[in-house]
């Protein structure tokens, strides 16, 4: 390791614990606590990546995860930030976005033809001739993009956790620490969140006095006090990644996304140090002053041997002093201000006889081969803000540190609803309004001088707990001069005739790119952003937004407020898809017999949240098995798990009246012990659900609903009765019952074997009858229904006894050859019987008249939901009708559900259900057709895959057992 500084430099590293990892296949040694970037820099590796567009060499800019220069690939994970990810033994790190190698990237040639690749060139090229697009697309996909996504990589484990507190403080710097302490004084719960590994913020790396002691003292005091408070929970390495309404914040730490709800929030996240724009400002070795300080103080890395410092405030002189302390020669300080004021740090630098060139800026960086590092800096005299005269003296150096100003870290304030306005005195945006329960503190709030920052933190913590403070308690005061004035240079942009003066390093946007875009009319700041992609890269404009705003304001000759800023949206920082996606909860509901289905080899399918058997057996024999299951029901006996069917207890003296209003049929005179079909429509007369209502008592109906529709039906029932106020109670008992439908000519014989207290004969228990009985020793509700068109009994038992019922029925039916059948066989059987499935054979517009279900509408009752609409519809001519059809020509391809019914160029309907019926021996189905196509015997055409037309004939329903003798056996 060639560039390590001795202790006390390197607060984050543990020199006793060396760590090896690889970068681009080369072994690299670092220490525990190093980031990838700090370890590489310590080993003299300054180029970490290639730029997005021109593939220029890039190195760290901020050392805080605030730039896109440090994106690397770690194993199968692309776009990790090398200046944030700690090294671990064996880590395999590679560069991204190159063709060849990071050192020798063939795409770097693009930088030489940049005049042909202005921003937006892709909007104006490639689209013609049209036949060329496939070629362009291939090339663009090859060139564009960062990193490589490994679609086969192991899924990581990510989860979520909810957090609550009275006060959340975001930012563990001096203001945040003071805020947390002040809020803690009131006794509430405080959560202090900081993105870094170590509390202290700028106190960890910045210099506030010439001796360099003040930061250490303040940090030690504050951190010790915070750690001593039991009501402050400290969450370091945690990113507050957005602000949502009602003080809801997503916090990202490790592989967990915390969802925090705070009573009050203090945002003390600080400021972004801002770059200075000049030619070749992107060359590795050009860094923000704060990045240089982080490298020295946090990682003990000597980032160069001879430096030039660009200054426009006293902080820059702190950087120069740190460089000197680290044994790095400071070739000069070039101060953009023509007459830098006397200040403690500047005075200390002068005392050390460092050359200070006032009124001067960096004009350009002269780089080594292919821009891989800084060789020298050429200065130029500043003639006015953002204007420089001809180039001046050159200073040989290998490091450029830039400290010319700041911008508040605005995203969390903006996302929570706060607003900013430009403050000419400080040349920065300043908060002008905050939403309730959000308080800003520290440099984000314009407090830059350390004493002002500490005072502002105390003030914010007090305000956050104001309701808990004695009425007489005074708000802590903050000095009037908070040190913001003059800390930021008003126009830190010095364009160069030869370009490469990058405003946005992520997207390689140069000054001329923004100027040209405005000339083309993209003057609005949001349009300018999108056309140029300035601020749209990984660093989301942290370093480029304000320069672009300043440029736009100057070019358009308007104020910065009139120019405006772009909209800030979450996430604030990078977020992994895993945080957003996982751990995702995907609820699933199993019936009591679920595992019996699995044991029988069922292929399961989703039905809403439920899992249902689609069919039983080998998937390769799917069609054959479904036909066999259906055949066994027609000729023998089968059983199907119908537990997922919705079940609603409707009870009370007004139960019948309630059903009369909710459903189209009539129920007031329905006898006890009988069931009746129910058809539900909405206020527009559209069919929404169906089932049967079983009357077990004058005041008790057990109503079934479709598997996927029952929750909506239940909600509708509650909603309507909240208005009607009928004396009725509605309870969703779907999960309370397990249900089995035993169907087929031998169903009675099988069921009677284990039903000891009920006569199941046709006379004693006729079709559509309902009763209570004991089956296999289990108290049951029996329903004689016929959805599949055969003699059948639905047996409903308490869910906990469902598996025992299933076992008993299988045993009882063993001799008869009973076998379970799945949803697919049931679909075939019900289609043969001409029964619709709501939401398959109906859509969001189907009314009962179109579905040929006028028979299910009671004509004499005064009201039901949807009645008025159906009355109106009945007076209009139908435009379509649901009909049964058959296809006898087996040489034709079989249509599929949703294939269109066409007449010439007109679409008259669609197929809703279709099957090759084992019982009928034909292809049969249901379809919507035009009214004049709906009479039995009419033919119509179905357009199948590939455009071929298949002829079908309308037939009368049902297809099977037209007299319904079999279900009434």
């Amino acid at each position: 390791m060639t560039s390590r500084l001795p202790e006390p430099f390197g607060a984050l590293i543990d020199r006793s614990k060396p760590v090896s990892f690889s970068f681009e296949g080369r072994n690299v040694q670092g220490f525990k606590g190093d980031t990838i970037a700090s370890a590489l820099l310590a080993n003299g590796v300054t180029m970490l990546s290639r730029s997005f567009k021109y593939h220029r060499p890039r190195g760290p800019l901020t050392m805080a995860g605030h730039d896109g220069n440090t994106l690397v690939q770690i194993g199968s994970e692309p776009n990790r930030q090398a200046d944030r990810v700690p090294i671990t033994s064996g880590l395999k790190v590679t560069g991204i976005n190159y063709w060849g190698s990071l050192e020798h990237d063939r795409f770097a040639l693009l930088g030489k033809v940049d005049r042909f690749l202005p921003v937006g060139f892709y909007y104006k090229a490639f689209y013609k001739p049209r036949w060329m697009w496939p070629y362009w697309e291939k090339l663009i996909r090859r060139v564009a993009g960062l990193g490589v996504v490994d679609l086969h990589s192991h899924h990581g484990y990510f989860d979520k956790e909810y957090l609550f507190c009275d006060v959340m403080v975001v930012g563990g710097g001096p203001a945040g620490l003071e805020s947390a302490l002040a809020a803690s004084d009131a006794g509430g719960e405080v959560i202090l969140v900081d993105e870094n590994r170590m509390l202290g913020g700028s106190l960890n790396y910045a210099r506030f006095d010439a001796a360099g002691e003040r930061a250490k003292i303040e940090r030690a005091r504050l951190v010790a006090a915070v750690e001593a408070r039991s009501n402050i929970r400290v969450m370091t390495e945690t990113i507050c990644n957005g602000a949502y309404s009602d003080n809801w914040y997503p916090l990202v730490r490790g592989n967990r996304l915390y969802k925090l709800r705070a009573g009050e929030t203090v945002i003390a996240v600080g400021s972004y140090e801002q770059p200075l724009i000049f030619r070749n400002n992107d060359v590795p070795g050009v860094m923000l002053g704060s990045a240089v300080q982080r490298l020295i103080r946090l990682y003990g890395v000597k980032p160069g041997s001879r430096a030039v410092v660009a200054a426009a405030n006293d902080d820059a002189y702190g950087v120069a002093l740190d460089l000197l302390d680290a044994g790095i020669e400071v070739a000069c300080v070039t101060d953009l201000r023509s007459d830098p004021p006397s200040a403690p740090l500047a005075d200390a630098v002068l005392k050390k006889r460092v050359p200070v060139v006032a009124g001067s800026t960096i004009y350009e960086v002269e780089s080594g081969s292919e821009g891989r590092g800084v060789r020298a800096v050429r200065l130029a005299k500043v003639t006015s803000e953002g204007q420089a005269a001809a180039k001046g003296d050159s200073f040989a150096c290998d490091l450029v540190a830039v400290s010319t100003g700041y911008a508040p870290m605005a995203p969390l304030i903006s996302q929570s609803g706060g607003t900013f306005a430009y403050d000419a005195a400080s040349s920065m945006l300043a908060i002008c309004s905050l939403p309730d329960h959000v308080i800003a503190a520290g440099s984000l709030n314009g407090a830059y001088a350390l004493d002002a920052t500490l005072e502002d933190g105390r003030r914010a913590g007090f305000e956050a707990t104001r309701n808990s403070q004695p009425a007489s308690a005074a708000v802590p005061t903050v000095r009037a001069d908070k040190g913001a004035a003059g800390i930021t240079y008003p126009f830190p942009i010095f364009s160069h005739p030869r370009g490469k003066d990058f405003v946005d390093l992520d997207e390689d946007v140069q000054v001329k790119d923004l100027e040209h875009a405005m000339l083309e009319g993209y003057e609005h700041i949001e349009l300018l952003k999108r056309f140029t992609t300035n601020g749209m890269g990984p660093s989301q404009g942290r370093n480029s937004s304000m320069p672009a705003v300043r440029l736009a304001a100057r070019t358009l000759k308007q104020s910065i407020d009139a120019t405006g800023t772009t909209t800030s949206r979450p996430p604030v920082m990078q977020v992994k898809m895993g945080h957003l996606a996982g751990r995702s909860f995907e609820p699933v509901r199993y019936t009591a017999m679920h595992f019996r289905h699995l044991e029988a080899g069922a292929k399961m399918m989703s039905a809403g949240l439920w899992m249902r058997p689609e069919f039983y057996g080998d998937h390769a024999r799917r069609a054959e098995l479904i036909r066999a299951e259906a055949k066994n029901v027609r000729e023998n006996v089968g059983m199907i798990d119908v537990s997922t069917l919705g079940g609603l207890d409707v009870r009370g003296p007004d139960a019948a009246e309630f059903l009369n209003r909710m459903y189209t049929f009539a129920y007031t005179k329905q006898p006890v012990g009988r069931s009746r079909y129910v058809l539900m429509t909405d206020q527009a007369g559209v069919i929404t659900d169906d089932g049967v209502a079983c009357r077990f008592h004058d005041d008790w109906f057990y109503v079934t609903a479709t598997t996927s529709g029952v929750d909506a039906v239940y909600r509708q029932m509650l909603w309507y009765n909240a208005q009607w106020r009928l004396k009725v109670d509605i309870t969703n008992v779907t999960a309370a019952y397990a249900g089995v439908n035993v169907a087929g000519p031998n169903a009675r014989a099988v069921l009677q074997k284990i039903c000891t207290d009920a006569d199941l004969s046709k006379e004693a228990f006729p079709y559509m009858g309902v009763r209570e009985a004991t089956v296999a020793g289990i108290r049951s509700l029996l329903l004689r229904v016929g959805f599949v068109g055969e003699l059948g009994y639905e047996v409903h038992v308490p869910a906990s006894e469902g598996e025992a019922l299933w076992d008993a029925l299988m045993e009882a039916g063993k001799e008869s050859g009973i076998r379970p059948f799945g949803v697919e066989a049931q679909r075939v059987l019900r289609l043969e019987k001409g029964h619709i499935i709501v939401s398959q054979d109906t859509d969001g517009l189907t009314n009962p008249l179109e579905a040929d279900m006028a028979w299910a509408i009671a004509k004499t009752k005064p009201f039901f939901v949807g009645m008025r609409s159906i009355e109106i519809q009945s007076k209009q001519p139908l435009t379509r009708k649901l009909v049964g059809f058959e296809i006898t020509d087996r040489t034709q391809p079989m249509p599929k559900e949703c294939h269109l019914v066409v007449r010439g160029r007109e679409i008259t309907g669609r197929v809703t259900s279709i099957t090759d019926s084992p019982a009928v021996g034909k292809i049969i189905g249901l379809a919507y057709v035009a009214l004049d196509q709906s009479e039995p015997g009419k033919t119509f055409e179905i357009k199948v895959d590939g455009g071929k037309l298949v002829s079908a004939v309308v037939v009368k329903l049902p297809f099977y057992d037209p007299d319904s003798k079999r279900q009434e056996l």
Partner: protein, 235 residues
């Protein structure tokens, strides 16, 4: 010798999970209840104090709802107050969770010494319902208890309600979403140990059981048997 759950008609939806985790069963209310896991009862008790889940589905419970339910329950000798979302203890150890003005869940005690659920169900009939209707909670709802000092932290991973002990006081009820499923959470500490009864959709038992085990893994949480819970309760 442990009872085999399939030897009884009524079965907890979780019996396979419990068997896989090594449960020993005994009969309670006609079905197999997981009484212990392994032979180290002290370790199981320690787990119950730290972070554990126990299937109470075999224990008796019932429910009632309707506009005259509070009056009917009072007439049956139940002690309930007006405030909803509170658990009201009964003299015989049963607990009545008042979910709203007109909806109640009746949970039996851990020792199964109370007869209240059976007594209420015996007294009720549709013919005499008169504004109070039975809800088959034993069959519509699974019942587990989550115990231990880490319980609230575990809930924070699956539930958006603040269930920390100092904000969600003993006998509070939250009717909310747990891992995206509706659930009733009743805080009912057991012998000084933080505990939450969770009553939820029976058909989601396997799903939610898995979600709980996953969430409690970082706290060392595992299933415990009813014996450990009874020991916590001192019964």
């Amino acid at each position: 010798m442990s009872l085999n759950p399939i030897d009884r008609r009524a079965r907890s939806f979780l019996y396979r999970e419990l068997m896989a985790a090594g449960a020993s069963f005994a009969e309670i209310n006609g079905q197999a209840c997981a009484m212990r896991f392994g032979s180290d009862s002290l370790a199981e008790l320690a787990r119950a104090r730290a972070m554990a889940i126990c299937d109470l589905s075999p224990l008796r419970r019932t429910g009632y709802k309707g506009w005259a339910t509070a009056e009917w329950l009072a007439a049956q000798g139940c002690r309930i107050e007006d405030a909803p979302n509170r658990v009201y203890g009964q003299d015989d150890g049963a607990r009545i969770a008042r979910l709203s003005r007109g909806e109640f869940v009746v949970l039996s005690d851990l020792a199964q010494s109370t007869t209240l659920p059976d007594r209420l169900d015996g007294a009720w009939s549709i013919a005499s319902a008169n504004g109070c209707f039975r809800v088959p909670r034993t069959d519509s709802s699974a019942w587990v208890v989550i115990t231990g000092e880490h319980a609230a932290s575990m809930f924070a991973k699956v539930c958006g309600v603040d269930l920390r002990p100092h904000t969600f006081v003993n006998h509070s009820i939250a009717q909310t979403s747990l891992a995206r499923m509706n659930a009733i959470i009743c805080r009912s500490d057991i012998g000084g140990t933080l505990a939450f009864d969770v009553v939820f959709d029976l058909a989601s038992s396997v799903y939610l059981w898995g979600a709980f085990l996953d969430a409690m893994q970082e706290f060392g949480g595992k299933p415990v048997g009813l014996e450990a819970i009874r020991t916590l309760a001192g019964v």
